[in-house]
């Protein structure tokens, strides 16, 4: 049984403008998204701004209610739990945020920030709590913990703050962690440090990650499987190596083609796919396949009929009329 399952998750945000007649407008942030995550794996969720990946991450943690659909954790629907069970579930699923400057309360000390999860879910005596916090800090590479425990966030660098954010997420030894762009705001030389830390922690604590990012190079490096999103829909899911070598969906192909390589010979020799136009509005997404308006390989059918997500190989699915089932 997969650890996490998204089942037809849909989230529409109503716009504030109210019309007297006709339906109020909504932002179709996430539309009928289904996938599963096995225990111990790192699933990458990639897409550009507005594709719905962050919203999907938050839905999986029950940080908001879906408009339709549901999600399960160890087989149980997380939206159908009683208050007490939901509270206990929170300790098993956590989040690491993107912005190491915005995600830590600047007026609290590291001690206060890291004590919070314990006080809510596993209160203990002060000395034990302090020992737990120090151990947590050392687990994320801020050693010796005693040096850092009474400092405020502004006294740390971006990379160190992100380590504190990771420590906070791991305090209660969760099974599932959503990492929402955890290294995008960090310098290049620090990114590798943090990714390495996340991988080591995954092995040590048997974590399962949903790794949300727009950066394909990061995905290639740390994810075992990848799901690509466009305008609220999943367009392709595959094991990492297969996704990058086969790039079946035209959008996946365009994304890979658009990502520059840190190698002048290779990157200049490549054939580039440059998409025309801008991203359509999620308030009124195109009919049929949402990508058809920018797709270099569109057919007539694409503007009328939405392609379903179909299996095309070993754990590989694509939502595209170019790949009817089995081919």
């Amino acid at each position: 049984m997969p650890l996490i399952e998204a089942c037809g998750l849909t989230k529409h945000f109503p716009l504030r403008r109210m019309f007297l007649f006709g339906r109020p407008e909504v932002v179709h942030a996430v539309d009928d998204v289904s996938f599963s995550i096995e225990a111990g794996e790192t699933l990458g969720l990639v897409g550009e701004s507005g594709c719905g990946k962050s919203t999907t991450g938050r839905l999986l943690l029950a940080l908001m209610e879906p408009t339709r659909g549901h999600a399960t954790f160890q087989g149980r629907n997380i939206f159908a739990l009683e208050a007490r069970e939901r509270h206990r579930l929170r300790a098993r699923m956590q989040i690491i945020f993107q912005d190491p400057f915005a995600s830590l309360n600047p007026r609290k000390t590291v001690r206060q920030i890291l004590a919070k999860p314990f006080r809510i879910h596993a209160p203990m005596r002060r000395q034990k709590e302090e020992a737990a916090i120090v151990e947590l800090l050392e687990t994320v590479g801020l050693s010796p913990g005693h040096l850092y425990i009474d400092r405020n966030p502004h006294e740390f660098s971006g990379g160190q703050r992100q380590r504190i954010g990771i420590a906070r997420a791991l305090a209660l030894k969760p099974s599932f962690v959503v990492a929402d762009e955890p290294v995008s705001a960090l310098d290049l030389s620090v990114r590798a440090q943090i990714l390495r830390l996340m991988q080591a922690l995954q092995r040590e604590l048997q974590l399962t990650y949903l790794f949300i990012t727009h950066d394909l190079a990061v995905v290639r490096t740390v994810c075992s499987r990848v799901a690509v999103m466009y305008l609220g829909k999943i367009v392709e899911v595959a094991p990492t190596a297969a996704l990058f070598s086969r790039r079946l969906h035209p959008y996946t192909d365009a994304l890979c083609s658009a990502t520059p390589l840190p190698n002048p010979r290779l990157t200049r020799a490549r054939e580039r796919i440059v998409l025309s136009g801008d991203l359509p509005s999620p308030v009124s997404p195109p009919a049929g396949c949402r990508f058809h308006s920018r797709c270099p390989r569109r057919m007539d059918r694409c503007a009328e009929e939405e392609p379903p997500l179909l299996g095309v190989g070993e754990h590989h699915s694509v939502a595209c009329h170019l790949f009817p089932e089995g081919r």
């Binding site: 550009e48 701004s49 660098s157 990379g159 160190q160 310098d187 290049l188 030389s189 620090v190 990114r191 590798a192 440090q193 990714l195 390495r196 991988q199 727009h214 950066d215 394909l216 190079a217 990061v218 995905v219 290639r220 490096t221 990492t240 190596a241 990058f244 365009a254 994304l255 890979c256 083609s257 658009a258 990502t259 520059p260 390589l261 840190p262 190698n263 002048p264 010979r265 290779l266 990157t267 200049r268 580039r272 440059v274 998409l275 136009g277 801008d278 991203l279």
Partner: protein, 324 residues
């Protein structure tokens, strides 16, 4: 004496703060030849943006100050040019800048057309009608699909990619000889970034201008640049032709950056990182600024700052390991 379009020698820029003096740029030499694309690469706080702002004398003063050096543009030192001439002849006309976040640099209460005609009328003395027509031509030139509609719009009504094209349009309106782009695509999605980078490359080629591209993204450098300067702690640590820098880097910082750079083409078995963090520019380490993080650190590195050593034709490294 060089035939370089832009020749910076010994540039030092400092910022005085209540907690001390930040040595943002600490002795940089840099040259841009005609029709060349130069990459200035480094991480946040390394001083690369400060160099860009110093060239057009846009450093806020106080607290900033250019304390040493010369910036020779076509032979004349821009640091000695009167402000009046900087405004009328240099900025927007000879040298134009494209910044990172178009929303911050476009006037939110002015229509796009007015923002372009403003620069045209200032530098080319066109009347309102001529400037209006030229503005539409410029919008078409930067590949905006419906120039009339965009000309009548306000920046907030446009997408990020469109705004950046408008900013580029304003920059090239008076056909500058040197275009400085400071992280022009950082705020954009990767598919839009590909469009904008291609646009910049085409424009610069058509105008026969040079481009000084400031970025932390090694992929962008590999994609566009002819030559690269690697900056660390306000100093150049290595510079050379793009192929040499990527294929035969000599400075430990450059080597570390390249090894920790992630790519969609490679599956890494092991993630390599540069240990430690960027030092505080108010109290940089003595000697070579990189020495605390350097795996090859020797005694001399802790005491003295290395000078440039040629590694090959057009390739210099600031490192004691490099034997002349």
């Amino acid at each position: 004496m060089s035939s370089a379009l832009l020749d910076i020698r010994g540039l030092k820029v400092q910022f005085r703060t209540s907690r001390g003096v930040v040595r943002a740029v600490d002795g940089i030499d840099l040259a841009v030849q005609p029709r060349e694309i130069i990459g200035l690469v480094g991480e946040s706080g390394c001083g690369k943006s400060t160099v860009a702002h110093a060239i057009t004398r846009l450093i806020p003063s106080p607290p900033g100050q250019i304390v040493a050096g010369e910036i020779r543009y076509r032979g004349s030192d821009l640091l000695r040019v009167p402000e009046r001439d900087m405004r009328s002849q240099i900025r927007g006309r000879e040298i134009a800048m494209v910044f990172q976040d178009p929303m911050t640099y476009l006037n939110p209460v002015m229509k796009v057309r007015t923002q372009i005609t403003e620069t045209l009328r200032l530098h080319q003395q066109l009347n309102a009608e001529e400037a209006g027509r030229k503005a539409l031509e410029i919008l078409a030139h930067v590949q905006i699909p419906s120039p009339e509609r965009v000309a009548k719009s306000y920046p907030h009504e446009l997408s990020g990619g469109m705004r950046q094209r408008v900013l580029i349009g304003i920059a090239i309106a008076c056909t500058p000889t040197l275009l400085i782009a400071d992280e022009p695509t950082t705020a954009l999605d990767v598919t839009v970034q590909a469009q904008i980078l291609r646009l910049l490359k085409d424009l610069v080629r058509d105008l026969q201008s040079s481009l000084l591209l400031i970025t932390h993204d090694l992929g962008i450098v590999a994609e566009l640049c002819d030559r690269v300067y690697v900056i660390y702690c306000g100093r150049v640590v290595e510079h050379g032709d793009v192929y040499r820098i990527f294929e035969s880097p000599r400075h430990p910082y450059t080597i570390g950056l390249l090894r920790s750079a992630l790519s969609i083409e490679e599956m890494r078995d092991e993630l390599v990182a540069i240990e430690g963090q960027v030092p505080n520019l108010m109290a940089p380490p003595p000697g070579c600024a990189f020495h605390p993080r350097c795996g090859f650190c020797m005694d001399i590195c802790r005491r003295e700052a290395p000078g440039p050593v040629p590694a090959a034709e057009g390739h210099e490294v600031w490192c004691f390991r490099e034997l002349p």
